[in-house]
Assembly symmetry: C2
Homo-oligomer: 331 residues x 2
Amino acid sequence: MSAPRYDVLAIGNAIVDVMSPCEDELIEELGLARGGMMLVDTDRAHELYEAMGPAREISGGSAANTLAGLSALGAQCAFIGQVADDQLGEVFAHDIRAVGIDFDSPARPGPPSTARCLIFVTPDGQRTMNTYLGASQFLPAEALDEGLIASAAILYLEGYLWDPEQPRAAMRKAIAAARAAGRRVAFTLSDAFVIDRHGDDFRALIDAGEIDILFANKAELAALTGEADLEAGLAALAPKLPVLVVTRSEEGAVAISGGERAEIAAEPVEHVVDTTGAGDLFAAGFLAGLVRGEELGRCLKMGAVAAGEVISHFGARPEADLRALMKVRLG
Amino acid sequence: MSAPRYDVLAIGNAIVDVMSPCEDELIEELGLARGGMMLVDTDRAHELYEAMGPAREISGGSAANTLAGLSALGAQCAFIGQVADDQLGEVFAHDIRAVGIDFDSPARPGPPSTARCLIFVTPDGQRTMNTYLGASQFLPAEALDEGLIASAAILYLEGYLWDPEQPRAAMRKAIAAARAAGRRVAFTLSDAFVIDRHGDDFRALIDAGEIDILFANKAELAALTGEADLEAGLAALAPKLPVLVVTRSEEGAVAISGGERAEIAAEPVEHVVDTTGAGDLFAAGFLAGLVRGEELGRCLKMGAVAAGEVISHFGARPEADLRALMKVRLG
C-alpha cells in the first residue's frame, strides 16, 4: 500500500446554494420543514424561487463544503460530483478548484441543470433547505476512478447522496474500492429525514464494519439508533465504529474512539448569521485534526472553531483564514 | 400630462456581480486599474475568473442597484436592460423583481451570455471591476417602450451604458421620449474612464439642457470639467444643471440646485467591507428624497445613509431595511 496522494477524497452533491434571508412567517406560508432539507422537483423549485427575496449564489454541497474547510486547513483534497454543462456548473467548478481542490468530474451535457439548493435563512440564523438535485443525481458509478479512491487516506461520503439511485450505487462501489485499498471510510448522516428514508442501509453498512468514521448530530443519532436519549444513543452506536462524532449545536460535541471519549463546548460566536454548513465545517475541522494525528479532544476543538467561523457569515464555505484562526483559538 | 405611474424608470446594464475578496498583490499581478471599471472580452474574463478565489454571485448593475435602493425606500420603479436566456439572466431577473421592481425586457436567446462583472475586493474594501458586457450590450433601441418612459417621473441612465453602441442609441431615444413627455432625466457619470471615452457626448447633452439631475464623484467631475479643483468644477458645471450632486467618498457630498447649495459629511461606517454600489446607493437615497419633495440637504443625507449601509457588507444591493434605517438616522 503506497502512501496516499490525498488526505481526503469526497463524493457529494455538486450544488450551488441560492440563499436569501427571510422572516419566520414565510417558512410557515410555504409549508417548509424549518431547519431541515427537502428534495424538490422543478415545479416546486420554481415556486419557491418565486417566493424568495433577492438572493445570492454561493457554492455549496455538504461534502464539498467540508473539503473547502479541509483544504483551507492544509489538507490535500479531491472531489467527485456531477455538475451540468451550464453557468452554475462553471460556478461550482470554479469555486471548488479556486481553493485548491482537485475536481475533474466531467460536466454532464444537456438537461437537467446543475443542482441548486434554495435556502431560506430566518432571523435566528437557522437555515431551511430545498434541494433541486438536477444533474447531481446522475453521477454514474462508472465515473468513479478506483485508482483515485485508492489514492486518498480517507474517503468521505455524504448521506444526502444516498437519495438518488445512481450516486447511491456509485458510493457503494466507492466504499468497496476504498476498503480494498485499505483506506478509511468516513460518512456523515446529513439529515434526520434522510435516515427516515435510508436508515436500514446506513445501519447495515455500520453493522458490516464498512464505516470507520461517522458524523451525526443529535437528531440523526436518535433517528439512527431509535434512542431519544443522547447517552443511550452513544452507547448503542459507539462500539460499532472506530470513530463516532456527535455534534450538539450550541451544546458542543462529543467524540468516542476505541473506548476513549472526548467532549467540548461550542465556540462562542458573537452573532449567528447563518447556520448553513455548520455540520460540514465541523467535520472539516475534525478530519483536519485526524489526518494530522491530533488527539481526539483537539480534533473536536478544531471542528468547533471551523463551525463557529462558518455560522458567523452567510454561506457554507469558510471566509476567514482558518489556519490563522486555529492558531489564535488553539495555540 | 397624466400623473406618472412610476417614480423612476432606469435603463442600465443587466449584470450579475461575481465577487471575491483578494489581497492587494493580486490587483498588481493581474494588471488591474485599482478602484476602476474595465471592460473585458471573453478571453480576459476567463483569465481573470481563473485567477480569482472562490466567489459569490450577487445581482448588480449600477442603475439596477440604484433602483433596488429606491424600491426599498418605497419608490415605484421599473427597469429596462438586456439579459440573455440563461441561468445568470434568470438570477438577475429574479433578484430585481423580488424587490418589487417591474422588469419586462425579454431575455435575448443564444450567445453571448448575461453580463458579468468580476469584482476583486481588497482588504480596504475597495472594489476593482472587470465587466464582461455579454448580452447587455445588445439592448436594442426598438425594445424601448416610449409609453413606459412617459409613465415615469424620472428617467435614470447610467454612463456605463454609453460604451456599447446599441444601448447608447437606445438611451438617446429614451432621453428624447422622456423630454417629449415632460419628464426629468437623471444621469450618473459612472466612471472617470467612461468620461475619457465619452466626455464630449456627455458635455454636449448637458450643454443642450438634456440632463436635469447629474450624479458625479470628484474624479468624474474633474474629468468632465477639466478642473482639478472641486470648487472650480462645481462652479463650471452647476449653472448648466437643475440639480448637480457630487459625492466625495469619506469627505461627504455636495448638491447644488437653483443656486441653493447643501453639503453633508459621510455617514460613520464601523467597517468598510466592500465599496461596490456606494455611488449607486447614494443616488438611490438622494432620488428617494427628491421624489418625495424633501429639501436638498435631507436628500443628500438619505443618499449618505443608503451608501453607508451598502458598503458595510458584500454586494451592491441593500440588505438592511433601508426605511427603518432612515428613520433611525434621520428621524
